[in-house]
Symmetry: C2
Subunit: 340 residues, 2 copies
Amino acid sequence: MANPEPARRRPTIEDVARLAGVSRGTVSRVINGGRNVRPVVLDAVNDAIDALGYSVNQAARNLASGRTGSIAFVISDREESLFEDPNFGVFARVFSRELRRTGRHLLITTAQDEQEENTLGDYLTLGHVDGALLAPTHEDESLLRRLLPHRLPLVVLGKPPGFEDAFSWVAIDDEKAAFTVVSYLTGRVAGPVGTVTGPLHTSSGRDRLEGCRRALGDQFRPDLVATGDWSLSSGQQGAAHLLAREPGLRGLFVASDLMAVGAIGALRAAGRRVPDDVAVVGFDDSAAATMVEPALTTMRNPIEQSALEALRILDDQIAGRARRPVHLLLSSELVERGSG
Amino acid sequence: MANPEPARRRPTIEDVARLAGVSRGTVSRVINGGRNVRPVVLDAVNDAIDALGYSVNQAARNLASGRTGSIAFVISDREESLFEDPNFGVFARVFSRELRRTGRHLLITTAQDEQEENTLGDYLTLGHVDGALLAPTHEDESLLRRLLPHRLPLVVLGKPPGFEDAFSWVAIDDEKAAFTVVSYLTGRVAGPVGTVTGPLHTSSGRDRLEGCRRALGDQFRPDLVATGDWSLSSGQQGAAHLLAREPGLRGLFVASDLMAVGAIGALRAAGRRVPDDVAVVGFDDSAAATMVEPALTTMRNPIEQSALEALRILDDQIAGRARRPVHLLLSSELVERGSG
DNA sequence: CTGAAAGCGCTAACAA
DNA sequence: TTGTTAGCGCTTTCAG
């Protein structure tokens, strides 16, 4: 009944080889795709694997092959709101799903401050991972500076301010997208239009403000710009602030949907109806967009597609196919709903 | 000027040993704490390490030692709202910080569906990690079932329904805590009191409802129970629902602060003032609690302390100090603010 | 298509 | 306190 072997040591490739009556090398070939193995032998080996409940020892494989099978998703967020940004969740989900498809794993890591960024830098360059995907970065990204001299395969999500040429990245044309959505807004309301921006040390934050400014043209009022940090509460505070400054506010461009939800809350709290009193447009078309009543008019930010492209570029780098940084600009589109 | 060696192979422990004029074993001792090494030798080795820019090869170390230096934080969330729960962020932050302190790394992994849970199960039992910390789990947790026969060091955050005896966990007394905060609420308002619960297939969801029921006693109205899923939007919908059913609602216990923020939004949208028309109390004392006006009266959920205790228990398991599951119930306390 | 054999870089006995 | 020496389990040439 019970296995006569008392100590249940994990079976190794050697055990499988013995049971299948082949060599270690052949088993290795089988578990690595089964190329150049006769079907009969392949079946025999697979049977032995099942019988023994064998699974590969990653450490040994890493050591022998020099590859780890893990990719890091780095969220180096200096803000309080770790994980609050719904886009992180989408990125993580897509990365995780796609890597699993190729038998690899996603490893999410975070760094809250410069010290943590240093340790993280060590980690990334220490051979723990085959490559890294970096969530939108800040201007003062010491991690990027640290990673620069290394040749770690790396793709940044969004333009990395100050490192645009040094690293590969995937982004959208934030300026143009913001221009589009704000033009839509101004086509529908007459009167003062304000904006709640993203953090201005990020490319997206800056570029979306720039697009808004261009769309508004003469109408642009510097006093109706509130700086947010992508968080719900900053949208709330920003809108409250703008309303205090301009009670006659008629339109509001909020640089992310999550902040827009906060902004609408603040408008409501101040007794304004949306969109009748104040029209609001957001950005991202994230889950938050349809969470409010009325649902947000917003720009679609193709997070899923960005994730896929980033992964593709990363794999090119890992495989040595891409020698120099690759930059990809995806297009976005207006999504009309009820808010603006 | 330039290193005469053309191929810049990563230096190994052997290179360090040669440069420092000692054996490989001694270098190993130095990089593993430096016990039983003469100060002079220790300095020499460290100098060699610096000179060569040596860093340990993890794969080799794992293979030789059987340890990985990584701990998994498993978020197996079937809901849409991956990462939305602010408690996850706090857990991740504390784990990350504490592990770094001992030279280890946190690896966050997710599983959205049963298939992913299976792959994740493989991953966890394949020797990639030394142990795992599981975010609050569901009743139908196939991952736990899968992990049961293995002896992976593991601590669950919150009581794992159906597996209370099988695994170690750290939790609070949700029933008692909910009783406390709802009693506070009923002490301040007269009239119908409702609740927006967490998911009822989780221990916290169920127990908080139970505590609410006990506090309300005869006043408890089954028709004033709305089931949420910890997300902001579910709090919003829940409150709207309850208000539709009972326009005279006077008090509301929302089982998480994030949902409470949503609930307050819905109350506002329906023209109610908080706390004058409807008093609201939340749960968790998360960052969301002070994000709203008025700030939430809530129960403090000692997430940071839970994280530390869970890590302590996990380390006991890893070190083989704890043979059987350990269960820890932390205490929570009422935080009075303006909402209820 | 398959087997043999040489490592991958490190840890952990064991001796000295 | 230090050096020596087996491996850890796998991949990957290189022959055949």
